[in-house]
Symmetry: C2
Subunit: 163 residues, 2 copies
DNA sequence: GCTCGAGTTGACAACGATTCTCAGCACCAA
DNA sequence: TTGGTGCTGAGAATCGTTGTCAACTCGAGC
């Protein structure tokens, strides 16, 4: 998994996929998907996905979240789940990270810059701040002449419950 | 992209996919794919892939490497490229990391524990060691009661040539 | 209330990276 | 030569994700 860098001003380099379904219909406004920003509607589906994100603290895949919604009686199309999660991630309200197999998983998170420490057995996830790491990353980048620097970091281990 | 943690003793959690093509025919021996270890043969294809890995220093996808091989006149099947790269990665001879889109990319690397600083424009990659980060990660993990700790870290920026 | 335009949905189709399948090949020891 | 094991690769299959588009929803303006 890769942690999400909330302070990064990275724009996605996957132009081919990020044009996506919503590309043509977006007003281009950056706002929270559920916050009534111009052009964005708080639809039942979006509210349901947002609410579902608050019910777990580990990382879940879009399909898992879709199933969770169905079990809650909040039927939302899978494509809509993906879209909504992408919106939430773009808005910094959820973290999107990748499993080792390349699958995207999501988790509600705080908006400050942080990293994740994840139990490799049960998935329990702890948010961690690391000023030392920020300092180090920027220092190292300067040494090599890199500018506009961002980073991702993830810690794995076995939590006390699973040890 | 996610950096590879060479000192990690993680075993893959993707049981479904890692049984793979080679599962049935492997002797189960862990050795360098090109090093004549018991049960593993230095086939033309494996040698070609290994040699190709030494011709570039940025991260390349399996398909890019496949094309590179073809252009060199070393025709190797795509499935074989994937398999061989997986072998090399398992042996710690190449780094396998994921792009933001979830695609696996590979690069020849040193076997010591290191991280990558990658130019987001041209892909130039610099290997970096970070003892401070190791210390920090272990300290933080201890604070939260995590054991058997590993981590991934990647730095992105714009290199001097692209700035 | 009606119309229109913009936003959005969702089932199904499509995509693309990756892995599986299996007949056939390669190699080596007996 | 035989038998066993390792390996290949083209095409099939897999799977997470995204595209498509008809239909729906909503709100502004008349």
């Amino acid at each position: 998994m890769t942690s999400t860098d909330h302070t990064s001003t990275d724009t996605s380099t996957d132009g081919g996929t990020d044009g996506g379904t919503d590309g043509g219909t977006d007003g281009g406004t950056d706002g929270g998907a559920t916050k009534g920003a111009a052009g964005l509607r708080p639809t039942r589906q979006r509210l349901a996905v947002s609410a579902a994100m608050e019910t777990f603290s580990d990382f879940r895949s879009a399909q898992e979240i879709h199933q969770l919604l169905t079990r809650r009686g909040d039927t939302v199309g899978l494509a809509t789940v993906y879209r909504t999660l992408q919106r939430l991630a773009d808005a910094g309200e959820v973290d999107r990270v990748l499993t080792e197999g390349g699958e995207a998983v999501y988790r509600s998170c705080s908006t400050s810059h942080h990293h994740h420490m994840v139990c490799r057995v049960c998935g329990t996830t702890v948010e961690i701040e690391g000023p030392e790491v920020e300092d180090w990353a920027h220092r190292v980048a300067e040494q090599h002449g890199f500018t506009d620097v961002s980073h991702t970091l993830e810690i794995f281990g076995t939590c006390t419950a699973c040890a």
